[in-house]
Structures are given as C-alpha cells and as structure tokens.
C-alpha cells in the first residue's frame, strides 16, 4: 500500500447563502469578488495557477508532506512534495441547499491528480456502472484542532485583528486607487463579519473510494520502484479553517492505493 499524506491551503471563490450559488460577484452572503477581480467561479483550486490571491491571505498550495510504503515512512520519496490538484472544475456542490445541505456538500466532480516531476497519478470518481461522475456527500462536520495547528494558526482569535492590522498598514502605504478600494472593502467586511460564520477548527470530512477504469498512472522513469494498482484508491480529507476574507480553506488528508514494490514485494 502506498500512502500519501497531504496538506495545504486551497481556494474556492464561491458565493454563499443567501446569494445564489452561481452569483458572479457576491452581494449578501459572506463571500464576494473584489473590484478588479474576476467573477466568482466556484472552482476549488489547490494550486496557485488560476487562484486569485489576496494580500495577507494564505498561500494556496496543497502538497504531499509524507509518503509511506506499507508501514514504513519513506524519506526523499519521489512523490514527496508532489502537488495535489483537483481537476475538471470540482466544486462544493451545495446549490443553496438544493443539491445538499450545508456541511454535506460533496466535491463534484471529483478528479484528483498527484504530480511530481515526471510522475503522475490521476483518478476520477465515477459510477462504475454508468460512468457518470459520482455525487457523494461529505461525511459531515468534524472538529480538528490538529489541522488548525498544521495550518499554522496558533491562535484563531488573533487572526482577524492581525489581518485587519496588516490591511490597515497597507492601506496607509498605497496610493493605488484600485488597491485602496480592495483593502477598504476587505476591512469593511472583516469588521462586520470576521472571517466567516464557521470557526477554524470545524471542517468537513470526506472519504471517497475511487475505483473503475478512470485512472492514469505515469512513471516513465520508474522512479516509484514499483507498480500502482488499479483496484480501489481511497481519498480521505478534512477541509476547514475557512477564511472568508481570502476565500481559502485548509485541506489535510491521505490518499492510499495498492502498490507492489520491487524492493519490498507486495506491501
């Protein structure tokens, strides 16, 4: 078994209730597009490409932090620091509660890629009998203080005052009218609503079993020193620490897959 433990910040620029989920700018919810930013698009981005980064927000970058083969953690594994990417426009599919209740939103469609150098592992979450994208709700809400620490948040209570101080300092320095407008808008929302309605330690738990033929394993240089199997891969993750100011959340989890090692035989 090959186990990849990953974590990092993602961005999802999604309008929130009572705005329509497909609202392009955000009006009455707690998320919004700033002046000069592109329209909201609902897409979950785990890498900086395509993300709309706001100053003083987290760095969007979900990566593999630890790799284990069997029970053994492998240092300097070729998948160490691999990027974890959601493809096919995966989004939290809530639709104002029409598709799923708050806290049950699935990631839909779910299409995962782990990539480092020439190695690429990719799988889609589809129904094995119909081929349609699978719609599987989250397993619900879970408190995870370890994840909060892993996200680098020592004291959640200090997040908003610190962010406000940083934005105010920047506002005092810049003469750029668009940047000033963006900073002022963020400051107004932070003062009124903080980072949003959900405490940092509350997140959604996911467990998706990925099977079927919709997978890609590419290892042209045989760096993995073994073979990744095509039977079920299991993706588990916790997503929380919602930052409504930066439109970011923190994800931590594991991807496990069958693996036949040339060194360790079947593990």
């Amino acid at each position: 078994m090959l186990k990849l433990s990953f974590s990092g910040w993602l961005q999802c620029r999604l309008a929130t209730d009572p705005d329509p989920t497909d609202d392009p700018r955000g009006v009455s919810g707690w998320t919004y597009a700033l002046a000069g930013e592109p329209d909201l698009d609902r897409v979950i981005r785990t890498q900086p490409l395509g993300a709309t980064i706001r100053p003083f927000g987290p760095t969007v970058d979900v990566r593999v932090r630890r790799v284990s083969v069997g029970d053994q953690e492998i240092d300097r594994h070729p998948l160490q620091s691999a990027s974890v990417v959601l493809l096919s426009g995966g989004a939290f599919e809530g639709r104002n509660g029409i598709a799923s209740e708050d806290t049950e939103e699935p990631i839909f469609p779910f299409h995962l890629r782990v990539e480092n150098g020439g190695i690429r592992l990719e799988r889609q979450f589809r129904d094995i009998s119909t081929g349609e994208w699978k719609f599987q709700k989250s397993d619900g809400v879970e408190v995870n203080n370890d994840a909060v620490r892993e996200a680098g948040i020592d004291n959640p209570d200090e997040l908003v005052p610190r962010r406000i101080a940083s934005l105010q300092e920047r506002l005092a320095q810049t003469a750029d009218s668009l940047e000033r407008l963006q900073l002022q808008t963020r400051l107004r929302h932070l003062a009124a609503r903080g980072l949003g309605p959900v405490p940092a330690f509350i997140g959604l738990r996911y467990r998706y079993t990925l099977d079927g033929p919709w997978l890609l394993v590419s290892d042209p240089q045989h760096e993995l020193a073994g073979t990744v199997g095509s039977s079920a891969w299991v993706f588990t993750a916790w997503i929380g620490c919602w930052d409504g100011d930066a439109l970011c959340g923190f994800m931590t989890g594991e991807l496990t897959m069958p693996f036949v090692s040339r060194v360790f035989s079947l593990v």
């Binding site: 209730d17 009572p18 705005d19 329509p20 989920t21 497909d22 609202d23 392009p24 700018r25 009006v27 009455s28 919004y32 002046a35 000069g36 639709r95 104002n96 509660g97 029409i98 598709a99 708050d102 009218s177 668009l178 407008l181 808008t185």
Partner: protein
C-alpha cells in the same frame, strides 16, 4: 359591531400602537383576519418591489460604472436585499398571526402595477433602482404621520383604510386588544377571550428562522401577537429611540447617497435600463403603466419561466402554512425547498431577465421579473395531490430551462446551472411525496 371609545384608557403596561383618532376598530375575528390578510399582501408586494430594484443593479464596470461605483452599488443592493429578507420574515409573521386566530394565509395578490389608492394606499410598481423607486421605498417604510380612518358597518366587516404600513399594523394590534381585553382586576389579557380568539393550530405556524437569522415568532396569545407586530413596525419605521437600522433608515441613506452620486457625476446610473412594470401579457387586475415584453424576444419565454417558478414558490409556501395532513418531515421539506427555490431559482432567474432585451430595438430596455400570477393560486385538499402538482411544475421548469439554455445562446448560459436546480428540486418533492 361594537363601537367603543378609543383605547386611551388601556393600561399603560400594554404595548402602545399610538393614539387612535377613530372610534371604529377591528373587533371581530373576520375583521382581524381581513386586516392580517391585507398585511400579507402588503409585505409580499413590498418584498417583490425591493427584489426587483435589487436585481436591476449593475455589477460590472463594463456596464458603465467605475470600480468604486460598482462597490457602492453592491452595498446598496445588499442593503435592499436585506430589507427584502426582513419583509419575508414579516410575511411569515403575518402568516403566523392569521393562522393563530383561525385563518389561513393566502398568497394571491393583484398583478403589478397598482397605482396608489387603487388597491393599496401607495403605488405598487416594479421599477429599477433609481430616484423614483427609492422615494417610493422611503414612503412605504416611513413612520405614520396620521392614523387610520374606518367607517362602520353592521354585519359586514369594516373596510380597511390606511395610508402607511405602520397604520395597518396599529389597526391590527389594537384589534387583538379589542378581542382580548385586559381583565379589569389582574390587568392581564383576559384568558377566556384569549382562548376564544387563538383557535389556530400552533404546529401549523412557522417557528424557524429560515436559516437566515430572521425573527419569526410563534403566536399563541395576545402578548406574543402584540410583540410581533411591534417588532415588524419598529424594524420598518424605527422606534421612539430613533430610526437607525430600520428599513426607513436604510432606504433614506441609500436615497441620500444616490442623490450625492448623481450630482457628483451626471449620467451616473446604478441600475440597468430595466423595463418598468414588465408583463408577458395583459391582466384584468393590473393597473395602468405596465409594459409588455415583446413576444418575439428571448426575454418573453424566460419571463414566463420566471413567473412559473415564482408561482411554484408561492405554492410551496401556501402548502407549508396551510397543512392538510403533511407530516412534520414533509413540512420541513416544503419550508426548506421554498427558501432554496427563492435563492437558487427565483433570484438568479430575475437577474438573468434584467440582462435580456425586452424589445427588438437594440437601444430598448431589458426585461425584469414580472412576478405575474396567471390565475388564482389554490391548493388541492390532499397532500399527495399537492406534492404531485408541485413535482409536475418543477419538471416543467426543468424542461423549459433546458430548452432555453440550449437554444438561447450565451445570454442565458446561466440557465444550464438553473436547469440542474429544477431537476433536483423535483427529485426532492417526489421523494417527499413518497415519504
């Protein structure tokens, strides 16, 4: 019909709705229900007018506003939508009040437009955000300078006349006190009169906050009714301590800022060129001043789709507030679905309409949500039939959103997303019927 002196002698411990200048009051169940039904129509109508103005707001710099103006307009839109949501809570509270005294809420209302004094004391117009609409909103939410005047009749209920929303609620509040007077010894509401008046099923009332932090109290006695009415009036007009945060204050502030912006930059327009009082067809009950969306435009079938979805949302609310044997789980589905349809279908469809030309003239106005009722909304007597009708309506909406999105081009691309919403709502209702 009983004639009494004004309530100046009512113990001061009670909530006051202001001095009365009339000797005629609501003092029968029928009159009270009529007054509350009037309140339901008014809250409903106000909510739609506010929603219309909100969805007319410009969103992008490509619509002829600066980034800074777009941000201000967003704040105005948010403020107006916030008031519209409060009106939804007022509507739900008025429904609880009418249910509490043995009535059942009716969501039928005359079609737009309605000129002042034809149906209501003030005009009901669907109009884009601008000076005229803001002035009307301020007027609708302004504190009452005068009081009700009613004429008396015998067996027939008194006609309900008022100039301000707060006046109507004052009338209703005093009506509750007329029908449940204080016990002269305990100075508390007469318990026997209270039991006689509050005959509605408490579990038929709406006691949730619609997941939106709205205040919707259950009404089981006179004190609760008076408190609910006071809350509605104060949220609209403000109270003796001031008007900060009231709807009147919100609209007055937006109107003032709008005037300043317009003076500072002539030509500044916060809203799209949305047709005033758009309709897809003529209606006998509509007043003067309507405009027909041209039938050859894409806006026409889209507006008809909108009206269909809006009426379906009203049917959901009617079924929720007037249960005929639905289980608690089914009622929860009805409430959840009504709220979700409003956010996930009614509002986005309304926004789409404000971007679609309403005429074949390229310089002409765009359409807007007509909120038309094509006939009297009525529920069948049995829950199963009710759910079947609702499911059919959302199946039809799903088919039409799909047809329009596939044939209408990029201007209605958003309908692809909304089509899926219609499909999912139908599935939810089918499942609820079977449960």
């Amino acid at each position: 019909m009983r004639y009494r002196r004004a309530l100046a002698t009512t113990p001061t411990k009670n909530i006051s709705f202001g001095p009365l200048r009339t000797s005629v009051r609501l003092d029968t169940r029928e009159e009270l229900i009529n007054g509350l039904q009037e309140a339901i129509q008014i809250e409903h109508g106000l909510m739609l007018q506010y929603l219309f103005a909100a969805v007319s707001c410009k969103r992008h710099v490509r619509e002829g506003v600066t980034e800074e103006e777009a941000e201000v307009i967003r704040q105005w839109e948010a403020g107006i939508l916030g008031v519209a949501r409060d009106e939804m809570a007022h509507l739900a509270t008025a429904c609880n009040l009418v249910t509490a005294v043995g009535g059942s809420p009716d969501f039928n209302r005359p079609n737009f437009p309605q000129e002042a004094h034809r149906w209501f004391p003030f005009g009901f117009q669907l109009e884009r955000l601008g000076t005229e609409s803001l002035n009307r909103f301020v007027r609708a939410e302004s504190p009452k300078p005068t009081l009700l005047a009613l004429s008396a009749r015998d067996i027939a209920p008194d006609p309900i006349e008022f100039d301000y929303v707060g006046e109507l609620y004052g009338l209703i509040g005093n009506g509750f006190r007329n029908l449940v007077p204080d016990d002269p010894i305990t100075k508390q509401p007469d318990s026997q009169a209270e039991a006689t008046l509050f005959i509605g099923r408490p579990d038929a009332q709406d006691a949730s906050d619609w997941s939106a932090n709205l205040t919707i109290p259950s009404i089981t006695n006179r004190r609760a009714a008076e408190a609910a009415i006071t809350f509605i009036v104060e949220q609209g007009e403000g109270n003796s301590a001031g008007q900060t945060g009231s709807h009147f204050d919100t609209f007055s502030t937006i109107a003032r800022e709008h005037e300043q912006r317009t003076s500072a930059r002539p030509g500044f327009t916060p809203s799209r060129n949305v047709m005033k009082n758009p309709l897809t067809r003529r209606h006998r009950d509509a007043g003067i001043g309507f405009n027909l969306i041209e039938s050859s435009t894409l806006a026409h079938p889209t507006a008809e789709l909108f009206n269909h979805v809006y009426a379906s949302a009203l049917l959901l609310l009617m079924q929720f507030f007037d249960p005929a044997g639905e289980t608690p789980d089914q009622r929860q589905v009805l409430q959840d679905t009504a709220r979700r349809v409003m956010s996930g279908l009614v509002r986005p469809l309304a926004e789409v309409l404000t971007t679609l030309p309403a005429t074949t003239d390229p310089r002409g106005p765009t359409a807007g949500p007509p909120f038309e009722l094509y006939g009297v909304l009525k529920l069948p007597a049995h829950p199963r039939a009710r759910f079947i009708i609702l499911s059919e309506r959302f199946a039809a909406a799903a088919a039409e959103t799909q047809r329009l999105w596939k044939t209408g081009g990029p201007s209605v691309a958003r309908l692809e997303f909304l089509h899926r919403n219609c499909v999912l709502v139908r599935e939810t209702l089918v499942a609820a019927q079977a449960s």
